[in-house]
């Protein structure tokens, strides 16, 4: 199977869906790039190059550059979704949601319920997450907890190129508003990705490593770190089961609970501050629903309760790292 990067996989998914369905449009800042410039439009294809070539193929009516105006972008995307388009809107960095959060959580996510089930809002919001990019406190956050708490939203966090494509196709075809979070540090990571369209369903976790001693959950970029630590610990005879939830809303409780029933131990690795985060959320599900199986305290390995610092030494320590992950695993096994 052909090797493709996470970036390419997303591009391919969007391109394929745009070919398939003329109601799919893309809008955001510099999704084409060059509007009003002197050397032609479409050579940027989003600041990370994820949308490269789409403008050339689909033109200005379907790959729409906007002013810097996130409330209008998301609001327009929600309004367009409610009236018959399937917009893919972009918020360049998840950190920027603060300027348009109302249009996400009070509007698009609530239309259907507030209107008694009569509205349908097939909207995809693409955004990027993650520290480690040396971009400081306002360009480095991983805000999935903020989205996961919102009834009416679906929340997707692909960890590899294969899933990235299948989850994007699923997101575009889904009739509900979906936040699709791209880990900036995964863009160049390659994986085997089929050329044809396929769907990875929401709410189905991926057990990326079978194991019997401890269940380790990792989201986004943290999955790879959890996997690496698991591999290392295997040498020491510690057998981790590693789970990638893929989507945090809906969340696959079943796979998680089954795993903990088996291992009796749980470590959650999550790149966001600890309070009201996804690690807490998952811990609470298990403490409620698999309590009897638990043989040890549930350990959360998260960022500290601080903004993301700029200095690389601090930022590296801010993110859950192998040392902390390993320590937590050893702790619950002690």
């Amino acid at each position: 199977m052909p090797k493709k990067s996470y970036r390419q996989a997303i591009n391919e998914a969007i391109r394929g869906e745009m070919r398939r369905d003329p109601s799919v449009i893309v809008l955001g800042e510099d999704v084409a790039g060059g509007q009003g410039g002197t050397a032609g439009v479409g050579k940027v294809g989003n600041i990370f190059g994820v949308l490269a070539g789409l403008y050339d193929e689909f033109g200005p009516e379907r790959v729409i550059d906007t002013p810097i105006t996130e409330s209008a972008i998301i609001g327009a995307a929600g309004g367009a979704a409610m009236t018959g388009l399937r917009p893919i809107a972009e918020i360049m960095f998840a950190d920027f949601v603060g300027v348009c959060f109302d249009q996400i959580y009070n509007q698009a996510a609530k239309f259907r319920y507030m209107f008694g089930g009569k509205a349908k809002t097939p909207l995809v919001i693409r955004t990027t997450i993650g520290a480690g990019f040396r971009a400081g406190a306002q360009h480095s956050q991983t805000l999935h907890p903020l989205f996961t708490m919102v009834p009416g939203l679906k929340v997707v966090m692909p960890t590899n190129a294969y899933d990235a494509k299948g989850l994007m196709i699923e997101a575009i075809r889904d009739d509900d508003p979906v936040i699709y979070m791209e880990s900036k540090l995964l863009y160049d990571v390659e994986d085997e990705v089929p050329d044809e369209a396929y769907r990875v369903p929401f709410g189905e976790a991926n057990v990326v490593r079978q194991g019997k001693h401890v269940t380790v959950v990792g989201m986004g970029l943290m999955l790879a770190r959890a996997q690496a630590v698991a591999q290392e610990l295997a040498k020491a005879g510690i057998d981790c089961e590693v789970i990638d939830p893929r989507t945090t809303s809906p969340f696959d409780e079943e796979t998680l609970l089954e795993s903990v029933e088996k291992t009796g131990r749980l470590v959650i690795v999550d790149e966001s501050p600890p309070r009201c985060g996804l690690a807490a959320d998952i811990a609470s599900i298990v403490a409620e629903k698999a309590f009897k199986a638990l043989k040890a305290p549930i350990r959360k390995v998260t960022c500290p309760h601080t903004p993301v610092p700029f200095a690389p030494a601090l930022e590296d320590e801010y993110m859950p790292n192998p040392r902390r992950i390993e320590a937590a695993i050893r702790e619950v096994l002690a």
Binding site: S23, R62, A72, G75, A76, G78, G79, Q103, A119
Partner: protein, 329 residues
């Protein structure tokens, strides 16, 4: 095939009857909402549209069910102007099963997508960006529809309203931003909160056609709207219309309005867009008093029926609580 005399107003008698009926429906509906509220039959709070009927009805006069409107917390009038069923509305406002949103929305969230009514909106400034999106759909599908965002003078200061106007200009979409300037945002006067000389002038500087009209003059509103529709339907161009209105009542039902003098209130209430309309159509002998009064009676009966149905209806079953959050989850 307009009736005699219609030339003056550029409208057929049927059109005039419909317009009058809508305005009167709003008035009587809202008066009844006040009454039912006082009687404890309406939960929460509600904002009535009394005094502003000509604005909403004028704006929606030439719209079809295929065109879109987005509304505000003060949305009953817009709903009725766009053709929503008053029984469904009354059921909704009372939180009853069978309401337009099955009782889940309430006064500030009535929507009826089958009528192109994309929802009242309890967030001030919520609708303009959404309306831009509906206009984008129209442009993309090249179906000649337009999309209207109603906002108040207060909402005209919200960042989202400005962003939406700029976006509509840049994307060239048929959005029509209607700012109903009733002089107040809650308890603060527009003269204080709008730093600009006028809402329309400020809007014009965004690069779209903007005009300010007497919102108590149904015909002036229709005329402004026709120009906006022409720009929207044929050229996908956005427009702004400021309708200068009066708020006859408080911000919400029960607001004692300590910030308005008795004289101001009396002066505001002396401006009655429905009386204006009656006078105008009688003057040109298009509709006579008897006919208008006949409509009044019909509307009155319709609302009575709606209220009785709403009072009699059950609340939604508790099993509805967790339904319709998602299409599929």
């Amino acid at each position: 095939m307009a009736d005699a005399g219609a030339q003056t107003l550029q409208m057929s008698r049927d059109e005039l009857r419909r317009a009058y009926r809508r305005m009167k429906t709003i008035r009587l509906f809202e008066e009844r909402v006040e009454k039912e509220f006082a009687a404890g039959n309406i939960p929460g709070f509600a904002h009535v549209y009394i005094g502003q009927e000509a604005s909403g009805v004028g704006i929606c006069h030439d719209l079809t069910d295929e065109d879109y409107i987005g509304s505000t917390h003060r949305g009953h009038g817009h709903c009725i102007a766009k053709g929503c069923d008053v029984k469904g509305m009354m059921l909704e406002i009372m939180g009853k099963q069978g309401g337009l949103c099955n009782g889940k929305g309430g006064s500030m969230h009535i929507a009826d997508l089958s009528k192109g009514m994309l929802g009242a909106n309890a967030i001030v400034g919520g609708s303009p960006p959404i309306a831009v999106g509906a206009a984008l759909t129209a442009k993309t599908k090249k179906n000649g529809r337009v999309s209207v965002a109603f906002s108040g003078d207060g909402a005209s200061n919200q960042g989202t309203s400005f962003e939406a106007m700029n976006m509509a200009v840049v994307l060239n979409v048929p959005a029509i931003f209607v700012f109903e300037n009733n002089g107040y945002g809650e308890h603060t006067a527009a003269s204080y909160a709008v730093g600009a000389k006028s809402i329309a002038e400020r809007a014009a500087s965004f690069g779209l056609a903007a005009e300010s009209v007497d919102g108590s003059d149904f015909f002036a509103v229709v005329e402004a709207m026709r120009a906006a529709l022409e720009r929207g339907r044929t050229a996908c161009k956005p427009s702004v219309i400021e309708t200068r209105c009066v708020r006859h009542m408080g911000h919400f039902i029960g607001d004692p309005q300590p910030y308005r003098s008795a004289e101001e209130l009396a002066a505001a209430r002396a401006i009655d867009c429905i009386e204006n309309f009656r006078k105008r159509v009688r003057d040109v002998r298009l509709l006579d008093a008897a006919e208008l009064d006949g409509i009044d009676s019909e509307v009155s009966a319709e609302i009575e029926e709606a209220v009785q149905a709403a009072l009699a209806a059950p609340q939604p079953d508790i099993s509805a609580l967790e339904k319709d959050v998602y299409v599929r989850y």
